[in-house]
Point group: C2
Chain length 140, copies 2
DNA sequence: TGACATTTGCAACAAAGTTGCAATCTCCAT
DNA sequence: ATGGAGATTGCAACTTTGTTGCAAATGTCA
């Protein structure tokens, strides 16, 4: 059986409400990362804008989704895999891809972020790697 | 002699105006990347908010500055080095560092972004790498 | 089922970004 | 050096995005 929004909520010890379920299902049904606006367009008829903000924030806090910064000044969100949380600390280690043609953002789960060596004095906690280019569908 | 804002404008074939010079000088005097707001705080008494938006956009278009996406939903800008533009195409190849403690964002010019191999079908144009951690000054 | 805590929607607000237009400034040819 | 064409700026009005407080509604668990 396919994973449902409700299952994820139980796992994270969150109360199960219509908005949370629906928003999670939108993520589960999407193959790409979503901006706040994408979600708003899909369910602003059902839920208040404020609820969407708060729900996304809750999901971030619980490590259910992670945020992907993009150069276009629009943060997008995508579901985390289970392995994403290591000993209470959220940890993404895959590369994100942003298509310049269609604007889609996706997690390349199979591409691991390479390590880098920082200059003396800097301590490293997290690496974020976003690749721009053309995706499969948009390839000329 | 130190490079001045006006020199950069000439190089880029932009007309020399007070706002462009001043904003470039702010970048030249700063050792870290700046958000729109940082610039606004420094010169909103002299220039209109709209002018700052338009000036930053012009600099981006001409490849004078590059934008750095951060997880906090605040794009920052930093001056490009001359080598940044290769055959008309802007090309950053260094890592950016964002300090979780003081929030400073800097270009680590000496740390080159490692290459990654994308899955079949994807074409790569640009890579953006932002490292989070603690900077020299904030180190415990 | 019922009480309690959590979540939601509403309203009002604050901040960030955009657009059109008239006034001003730059640049270049004379 | 000057004048005019074209680019740039400031202003005003507006849209979009994000935040906060509070009362009503909903979910959880005994």
């Amino acid at each position: 059986m396919k994973k449902q929004g409700a299952d994820i909520l139980k796992q994270s010890a969150l109360s199960i409400t219509a908005s949370r379920k629906d928003i999670l299902d939108i993520f589960l049904a999407s193959s790409s990362a979503l901006a706040h606006q994408d979600i708003e367009l899909k369910c602003s008829d059902k839920f208040d804008r404020v609820t969407i903000y708060r729900t996304l924030q809750t999901f971030l806090d619980k490590g259910i989704i992670h945020s992907i910064p993009t150069t276009e000044n629009a943060v997008k969100y995508a579901l985390c895999k289970d392995e994403c949380i290591v000993s209470g600390h959220h940890h993404d280690n895959h590369v994100h891809f942003l298509c310049d043609a269609c604007g889609i953002t996706i997690c390349l789960e199979e591409v691991v972020v390479p390590q880098v060596k920082l200059p003396k004095g800097y301590s490293l906690k997290d690496i974020n790697m976003v690749v721009n280019g053309t995706c499969k569908k948009c390839k000329a």
